[in-house]
């Protein structure tokens, strides 16, 4: 055989054919086994289908109340740990929950006396005032984030009897009801030993947070039965739930379902398929508008559109030029087309925002604040912005509008001193994190360029963005948002109080207005809600006049449920995913 012959390869021999046949037999057997398994498991599933099945976008990070502060942990924990007072789902008023009645306020002695319901923990033990005292002590001993800063207004707390607690305050507080009495109460039985042990450690709070909670003890409508990490969470009806059979918040509370199964879906695409297929009854997450058309065609799916207590806005760095100039901020507010954002970016599923407090929070929202550029055409907006800027001393070689009032490409804007404005950057989260904010940033850039402003929208990794804006304060402008604001408007003070202009402080714009600070301080001490409301409305007026933030939009929360198995979901601000729904939802008869 010549050296080059190996390339002439012969056909497979009979022996090779026999091997191939044997492989084929093996593959066929495997396929038959596979189909038998699939058939068998399909039959198994059909037998047991009495659970309310809820899809989550991510797994809860921790079932330890002090660590599990992410949205998904909160969903589970909010069904277990309960506060003394809760918000009415429709009116949003604060109503008694674990408390038996509204608190008695003694103005002279600054005390709130709270009567407790005759409730029980999920293990059958009694819920008493000792648990409330213990919870307070826990907040103080460990300086528990989110709670301690609000509870430290309490000078003393005492239990008159097992069902009466008296809170002594250091000074009058407007947020006592909304931020203190709505905090979850934990069981002394569950946490006492853990707390004692944690106190002995070098890092007590971390030790408390790292404590593994297998079966959380709560007073809520459901209790945790099994948590198989990476797979599912099984909750059962709490037989000792204090609300069962009672009418609260306008609803007769159950729970009317015995079991809830939570499972995670890594992407919304798959979760939507699972909903349409009937694998889950509800996907506890905000659905993107792109899915709506498909879901509307499904007879077995109901869609819910609700307002959110959210704020998406453009912030300015008022610590430095050019955004320390109010005329420039007002001109920008005038050219930003919120209707475009609503129709093109939100696809009409949302509302344009004009005040800092969203309209869904109807009690505190001020609808009469200044609405820049509202109802104007594009040319009218540019004209109004040009007037603001010209009056403030800005100029152009070629203005954005020519002599006949038509829009033209302007030259670069010149500052009041005649100097060319430096380029500035609008930071946004990246499109894969939030396409709406990224796209809004790009559109704002275009609108500002039409005014001759050298704006550049730049997406930045969310971590870096917050670090730059909140910690280092090295920015010009940014587009950010709060997806779930508390219904108490105290956040106005957090965001704009001059003392909060510090690294990690929430006053990211560096806003300073002594008048605003004064009103913010006064409203904090008002216990009369009507009086406080007047000041909150005033604060919104001031903010919209000064524009440290330009409110942009508030997307609706869009949710979907399967309508063939359960009904009775309770819609409120922030959607149907709430404790009221899970107490009211019942099987379809």
């Amino acid at each position: 055989m010549r050296p080059d012959t190996p390339l002439m390869i012969p056909r497979p021999s009979q022996r090779l054919k026999r091997t191939a046949e044997s492989n084929l037999r093996f593959i066929l057997s495997a396929v038959i086994f596979l189909f038998a398994t699939v058939l068998f498991l399909s039959c198994q599933k059909a037998e047991k289908d009495l659970f309310l099945k809820i899809g989550l976008p991510e797994e809860p990070r921790s079932l330890n109340l002090w660590l599990g502060t992410d949205a998904n942990s909160r969903k589970i924990l909010s069904l277990i740990y309960q506060p003394l007072y809760n918000r009415h789902p429709e009116t949003l008023e604060i109503i008694p929950w674990l408390a038996a009645a509204a608190p008695e306020f003694d103005k002279e002695n600054l005390t709130y006396t709270v009567k407790l319901k005759d409730a029980k923990w999920s293990d059958g033990s009694k819920f008493t005032s000792e648990d409330v005292l213990f919870t307070k002590q826990l907040f103080f001993d460990f300086k528990i984030p989110r709670y301690y800063s609000k509870w430290k207004i309490i000078s003393k707390i005492e239990a008159l009897d097992p069902h009466t607690v008296v809170f002594h305050l250091k000074k009058p507080s407007a947020i006592f009801m909304s931020r203190v009495l709505t905090a979850p109460i934990v069981s002394k039985k569950e946490w006492e030993a853990v707390a004692k042990d944690a106190q002995t450690k070098e890092k007590p709070l971390r030790s408390l947070q790292d404590h593994s909670v297998e079966t959380p003890l709560g007073t809520g409508p459901f209790m945790l039965t099994e948590y198989k990490k990476g797979a599912f969470i099984h909750m059962k009806k709490n037989p000792h739930f204090f609300g069962t059979g009672q009418t609260m918040g306008g609803h007769v509370l159950g729970p009317h379902v015995d079991d809830i199964l939570f499972r995670v879906y890594g992407t919304s695409d798959v979760a939507i398929l699972a909903l349409k297929k009937g694998d889950i009854d509800y996907y506890w997450w905000d659905i993107q508008p792109g899915y709506i058309h498909d879901l509307k065609e499904q007879d077995n799916v109901d869609l819910y559109f609700n307002k959110k207590s959210a704020l998406y806005y453009m912030g300015f760095n008022m610590r430095r030029a050019p955004f320390n100039d109010i005329a420039l901020r007002r001109a920008i507010a005038t050219v930003v087309d919120k209707d475009f954002i609503l129709t093109r970016i939100l696809q009409n599923f949302g509302t344009p925002m004009h005040s800092i407090i969203p309209s869904g929070n109807h009690f505190w929202h001020n609808p009469d604040v200044k609405k820049y550029g509202h109802g104007l055409s594009k040319v009218q907006r540019i004209k109004a912005a040009v007037k603001i800027l010209t009056d403030a001393g800005y100029s152009w070689k070629t203005p954005p509008l020519n002599e006949t009032g038509e829009q033209v490409k302007p030259s670069d804007i010149l500052l009041p001193g005649g100097k060319k404005m430096d380029k500035f950057v609008i930071l946004t989260p990246p499109a894969d994190y939030d396409p709406k904010r990224a796209f809004a940033g790009t559109m704002i850039q275009e609108w500002l360029r039409e005014l001759g402003l050298p704006a550049f929208s730049r997406p930045m990794a969310f971590n870096s963005l917050l670090d730059t804006v909140k910690e280092k304060h090295e920015f010009d402008a940014f587009v950010l948002g709060y997806g779930k604001l508390n219904l108490d408007p105290d956040y106005l003070r957090s965001f704009f109080y001059s003392k909060n202009d510090k690294p990690r402080g929430w006053n990211m714009s560096g806003y300073t207005n002594p008048e605003f600070d004064r009103i913010a301080d006064i409203q904090m001490s008002l216990t009369d809600t009507g009086e406080r409301k007047k000041l909150i409305l005033k604060m919104q007026e001031i903010l919209l006049a000064d524009l440290p933030y330009l409110p942009l939009y508030n997307p609706h929360i869009i949710e979907a449920t399967l309508n063939t198995r359960f009904r009775g979901w309770v819609a409120k601000v922030d959607g149907i995913g709430n404790i009221w729904s899970l107490c009211a939802v019942r099987p379809v008869e």
Binding site: S13, T37, S42, K48, G266
Partner: protein, 323 residues
């Protein structure tokens, strides 16, 4: 093979590993933000945040943190995850099992099938079978994982309804009194679609690699010698050609197995597979330093050890290679 070579290699691995250990620490500390910078919650005051940072031990000077980190490593402690509040070793243990089951199985299956089909394709070079296999392999190789995975889920999970839409088990079956056999079958049932996705995606590269390697081996003189000796075709193909042609595939499998530790975050995400890939992405994006460091250290260790094993396997498979 000299023992000295192996010892030398192990020392080299230890040295590289320590450099990686140090680099990881500083890379995470120097990246923007910290474990709580991503929290957008107005209820958290700056004092709360400072308290949380101090409780995580991140208020200490960096050199002190580094010494604690190195000390912890040498005492076998990877620390506690900032976000889960669980020991990192426990999180990795829970997640790694799922990753190994899925990714190692798919890699090994794809490699075996790739070696077999690549061998057949090369042996039948120019035939219709070869053309079909080559085109099939190219299609597999260029598939976009998320698209393909979603397509499989839609077709086989939603439309046909024969497979579950992700996850690792059916909760309804597991909360009741279900027999262990049914539970095992349920796990296998959930594994089929992700396994199929990864198998098809990986198969293409192994098939093409094996085919090209086999074609070059078939030109070697020792194949002619084997034919001249009168050996049967099967022996020439399997014992003489395929064994040598499989060397590059083994290297590739070795490295793939190592990198399968971090899994395919995309595949895990779409199939809601609770593997370590998703955790790694989570840990990095949320600055969960202990978890992210431990995941990367694990990957580094496995890559280093896999390289050593591949080196040793080479010497065993190819007598021409000696150390």
């Amino acid at each position: 093979m000299r023992l000295q070579y192996i010892i030398g290699k192990l020392i080299e691995i230890a040295f590289i590993f320590f450099i990686i250990l140090t680099m990881l620490f500083f890379l995470f500390r120097l990246s923007p933000g910290d474990p709580i910078s991503k929290v957008v919650d107005p209820m958290l005051t700056p004092e709360d945040m400072a308290h949380m940072i101090s409780q995580m031990g991140l208020d200490k000077p960096m050199w002190e943190q580094y010494l604690i980190y190195v000390k912890n490593f040498f005492t076998g402690s990877f620390g506690v995850s900032f976000h889960y509040g669980e020991p990192v070793s426990q999180i990795i243990k829970e997640r790694l099992g799922w990753t190994i089951i899925l990714f190692t199985t798919s890699t090994v299956m794809a490699a075996l099938a790739g070696v077999f089909l690549g061998k057949v394709a090369a042996w039948n070079k120019g035939s219709r079978l070869d053309n079909f296999l080559s085109i099939f392999a190219l299609v597999c190789y260029t598939l976009f994982i998320p698209w393909f995975a979603l397509l499989l889920l839609w077709a086989m999970g939603f439309k046909l309804g024969i497979f579950p839409l992700g996850g690792v088990l059916t909760p309804e079956l597991w909360v009741g009194d279900t027999s262990p056999l049914v539970k095992i079958l349920d796990l296998l049932h959930h594994m089929i679609l992700p396994l199929m996705t990864l198998f098809i995606i990986n198969l293409g590269s192994y098939l093409l690699l094996m085919r090209s390697s086999m074609l070059s081996v078939l030109r070697e003189d020792y194949i002619i010698t084997a034919r001249a000796k009168g050996l049967c075709e099967k022996d020439i193909r399997d014992k003489h050609a395929a064994k040598n042609a499989a060397l590059p595939v083994i290297t590739s499998v070795g490295l793939s197995l190592a990198f399968s530790i971090n899994g395919g975050a995309l595949t895990e995400q779409i199939f809601t597979w609770p593997g370590i890939g998703r955790e790694l992405i989570f840990a990095v994006s949320n600055n969960d330093y202990p978890l992210a460091q431990a995941c990367f250290l694990l990957i580094a260790l496995v890559v280093l050890v896999a390289n050593l094993i591949v080196d040793l396997l080479y010497a065993w498979l190819d007598p021409r290679i000696t150390y």
